[in-house]
């Protein structure tokens, strides 16, 4: 064993584990076990994803025909606002750190728990509070501003935007606390022998994410205070009716939301590094390059917010600088892709469900990243900005990237989390359906956009109908894929085979303990003598 747990062999299944150690609802609500908290995050974010997905399918259904298909314009506008806001704030930002990060990070370090277990529980409660608050203000405020809440449009909806921002800020607080917890945990709770360069790359990615969370989220708080000063005290800041500057709001908004985009993608990238290496049974290629590129993305990511505003009336000088920096941030992402590629080289690739998702990720994220180059070029962006081209681009990155990585990670660690194996055949089927449906839905939208179809359009020119219909049919295939996936995973809970401690032959620490682990994670604190990707035969 590469990372041996001193002397004692690993028990495949322990009699008691973190799930059956205690019973009753309170044992969950008051738990401080990072694994249980992770599972509760998992359930909550998946519910959010299902909700957002439902709205997405309704949106696509509406777009089957120009004008009214199933809902009126006002409802459509609320539906895309809900879809976007739920997906971004309730699902994709908290999902990977909250669910997967919480579960595996401490185990990967050989720790018993995170540094501040109670704070961790508080994060979860803040997430629930913020989620309910955001959802209820979105719904009761009838918010139809899009998830970007641009002023002055959002000023017409009364107090709703302040409430939603407050909700998002509560959610932000939850992610600040998670970030803080992870940073301290990584610094302080590494088991003997786990040096910085023996950290699994997921830990590096989560670490970089945490830095961004801590630094960017306060800006949201500042925005909120300014919004309130404007609404309550009528000091003109953003609203031109009061003498404010609406473009300033966009600066504030993107100063948070652009780094937030990296909060969304970095952890996903971390997952991919784990899956590819383990299922190709090969030492990761370019460990340091991947680790440092995460940090580089996190830092440069703070300086590119203006690329959302090339045509929004910022100065041409500013646009030029932002375009330049945007191209720089493309480089570390490229470095990661090339290194993953070489990790396949002379590997031993097994087509398990997690690996199929990781390979899908490579395909989709490459398209998402490359089409970002179009958006970064000032003259080209002038044509495609706020068209379906951009909708396609960010779905390729967020869904093709993060969501696919997330479900890949879910399948990778599912045996560890639940102690059950799911069906590989159904797993492969669900991956294939999502992959095919995704490309049908969203590749079409690149064509729509470049041909001049603007985004957030309820009605559209007749000439776009065939492509819109194709895209809608694609969305049904995605939906079907997720239903198959949900069935496969849920069925495994009752009828799945028992999972061994290390079903994939992984070398990082979470595979060196029982499935599911005991509450303390390890019987004995592990002593680590090798890196997490050491698949060389002498350590088999």
């Amino acid at each position: 064993m590469a990372q041996a747990v001193a002397d004692s062999p690993i028990p495949e299944q322990s009699g008691t584990n973190y799930i059956n150690a205690q019973k009753g609802i309170l044992s969950w609500l008051l738990t401080v076990d990072h694994k249980r908290i992770g599972l509760m995050y998992l359930a909550s974010t998946i519910i959010a994803f299902a909700l957002g997905g439902f709205f997405a399918l309704m949106l696509r259904l509406e777009l089957l025909t120009p004008k009214r298909t199933i809902m009126d314009a006002a409802t459509y506008n609320q539906a895309f606002t809900l879809h976007g806001a739920v997906m971004v704030f309730l699902f994709i930002i908290p999902a990977v750190p909250g669910a997967i990060g919480n579960f595996v990070l401490p185990i990967m370090l050989g720790a018993k728990d995170v540094a501040f277990p109670k704070l961790n529980l508080l994060s979860l409660y803040l997430y629930w509070t913020g989620a309910l608050f955001t959802l209820s203000s979105l719904v009761t405020g009838g918010l139809d501003t899009g998830w970007t809440f641009y002023v002055p449009y959002s000023a017409t909806t009364g107090g709703a935007v302040v409430k939603v921002t407050l909700g998002v800020f509560i959610l932000g607080f939850s992610s600040i606390l998670t970030g803080l917890n992870f940073i301290v945990t990584v610094h302080k709770l590494r088991a003997p022998g786990v040096s910085w360069f023996r950290l699994p790359l997921l830990v590096w990615a989560l670490y970089a994410t945490s830095v961004v969370q801590i630094l960017a989220t306060p800006v949201l708080g500042i925005t909120l205070v300014l919004l309130m000063m404007e609404r309550v005290l009528h000091i003109g800041i953003f609203d031109p009716a009061l003498g404010g500057d609406p473009v300033l709001f966009q600066h504030f908004f993107w100063f948070y939301s652009h780094p937030a985009v990296y909060i969304m993608i970095l952890p996903g990238m971390g997952i991919i590094s784990e899956i590819i290496s383990v299922h190709a049974k090969r030492r990761i290629f370019g460990y340091k390059a991947i680790a440092f590129s995460s940090m580089a993305i996190a830092l440069i990511g703070f300086l590119v917010w203006g690329h959302h505003m090339f045509v929004a009336g910022q100065s041409h000088m500013a646009a030029t600088i932002f375009s330049f920096l945007t191209f720089l941030v493309a480089i570390p992402s490229g470095v990661k892709v090339f290194n993953w590629l070489l990790t396949l080289w002379r590997g031993s690739i097994k087509y398990t469900t997690p690996m199929l998702f990781a390979l899908s990720f490579m395909f989709l994220f490459t398209i998402g990243g490359l089409t970002g180059l179009f958006c970064g070029m000032l003259s080209v962006d002038m044509h495609i900005h706020d068209t379906y081209f951009v909708v396609a681009h960010f779905h390729y990155v967020m869904m093709g990237g993060t969501v696919i990585a997330f479900v890949g990670g879910l399948h990778h660690w599912w045996p560890k989390m639940t102690g059950k194996m799911y069906g590989e055949k159904l797993g492969a089927l669900s991956c294939a359906l999502v992959f095919i449906g995704f490309n049908a839905t969203f590749f079409t939208q690149f064509i729509l956009g470049s041909r001049g179809m603007p985004r957030r359009y309820y009605n559209y020119l007749d000439q776009f109908q065939p492509l819109h219909q194709f895209s809608t049919v694609g969305s049904w295939v995605i939906g079907l894929g997720f239903i198959v996936m949900a069935y496969n995973l849920l069925a495994s809970l009752t009828s799945g085979a028992r999972a061994p401690a290390n079903p994939w032959g992984g070398k990082s620490l979470e595979w060196q303990t029982a499935s599911p682990p005991i509450t303390e994670n390890f019987e004995v604190t592990p002593k680590v003598t090798h890196g997490p990707y050491d698949f060389s035969p002498e350590h088999q």
Binding site: N77, H316, T320, G376, S379, M382
Partner: protein
């Protein structure tokens, strides 16, 4: 000759003219530059896509697991490769940056002899005001082969001015002026789309851009684009279409954003303060010019004010038309 607007459609439905598979036809002097940039970045992407995905598929086939005892390579880094795939892409993206910048700068500075048109965006109507005072809602008429500069501002929320065939886009912001210019290279009708989300009518906030020969443009500009000899009700019908009253008012009794105008004349209307007013000529006049003076019960005061845009004889024509809606 450009026909006076008698029956302009409620919202423009000009198709976007397709050029290549990806892009619309290029109809401005700026467009070829953008298309050129598009083609360059497109081929760069195709190259990298084939490189990455091709290699991936090859490895997937070549290094498929044969047995559980497969021994895999232990080579875990290569400084040379890391440097190569940092620097080469860096050079390429810097080149892309400059290509994009050039096209953008061309669009930023209008030639000094540009013809200037004021553009106002408001929910959900584009209005174009020419230097001689001619006002043209929902229809932007411009001469072919002459640079035209748009000086744009919004009356309410942010909108964005986008003409796909011209490859130009710029936000239209309240409380600020933004500008953009183009020189159309081919006569014809094109569609202007609003590309910054602005509410319920966002996707209907279109306008027709009509590029005409300079001679015809001059004539149109002088006539103010209207035939004053028509019977008032007929003229009113044209104005009703031109100013897009139909987006908010139906003529068949059904409710839209505003009340239906069917059978309105001489009816008793209840206002939101409970007062009942008879819808006579004076009421109609006031409702059209300063709609928020009296607000009909059950409706929001969202109708644009027309006091600065409609002339007296135009209001008369509109009233004559409304009277006919029995």
């Amino acid at each position: 000759m450009i026909a006076p607007d008698t029956a302009a459609p409620v919202a423009s439905q000009e198709p976007i003219h397709q050029g290549s598979f990806w892009l619309p036809k290029a109809v401005s002097t700026l467009a070829p530059g953008v298309d050129n940039a598009w083609n360059i970045v497109m081929w760069v992407c195709v190259f990298f896509f084939v490189l990455v995905i091709g290699t991936m598929l090859y490895f997937m086939w070549k290094y498929k697991r044969r047995s559980e005892n497969d021994v895999t390579s232990n080579i875990d880094h290569s400084a040379r490769l890391e440097i190569a795939w940092t620097l080469l892409p860096l050079i390429i993206v810097m080149a892309l940056f400059f290509v994009g910048l050039t096209g953008f700068m061309n669009s930023a500075v209008a030639p000094s002899d540009s013809f200037e048109i004021q553009v106002t965006g408001e929910r959900w109507l584009w209005t174009f005001i020419y230097p001689n005072g001619t006002i043209s809602p929902t229809k932007l008429i411009v001469p072919k082969g002459k640079p035209v500069r748009m000086v744009m501002s919004s009356k309410d929320v942010i909108h964005s001015f986008f003409v796909p065939e011209f490859r130009i886009k710029r936000d239209v912001i309240p409380g600020q002026y933004t500008s953009i210019w183009f020189e159309a290279t081919e006569a014809g009708k094109y569609t202007l789309e609003c590309t910054e989300y602005c509410g319920q009518g966002h996707s209907d906030m279109l306008a027709t851009v009509e590029v005409v020969e300079p001679e015809a443009f001059k004539q149109w500009l002088e006539s103010g684009g209207e035939d004053k000899n028509m019977p008032p009700a007929k003229r009113g019908e044209g104005l009703f279409a031109k100013w897009q009253c139909g987006t908010c008012h139906s003529l068949d009794g059904s409710r839209k954003v505003g009340p239906s105008l069917k059978g309105l004349f001489n009816r008793d209307e209840t206002m939101n303060d409970g007062k009942v007013v008879k819808a006579d000529e004076n009421y109609l006049r006031e409702s059209i010019l300063v709609s928020n003076a009296k607000v009909v019960k059950g409706y929001e005061p969202v109708m644009p004010l027309f006091k600065d845009t409609l002339k007296d004889d135009q209001v008369d024509a509109l009233i004559a038309y409304i009277k006919e809606q029995k």
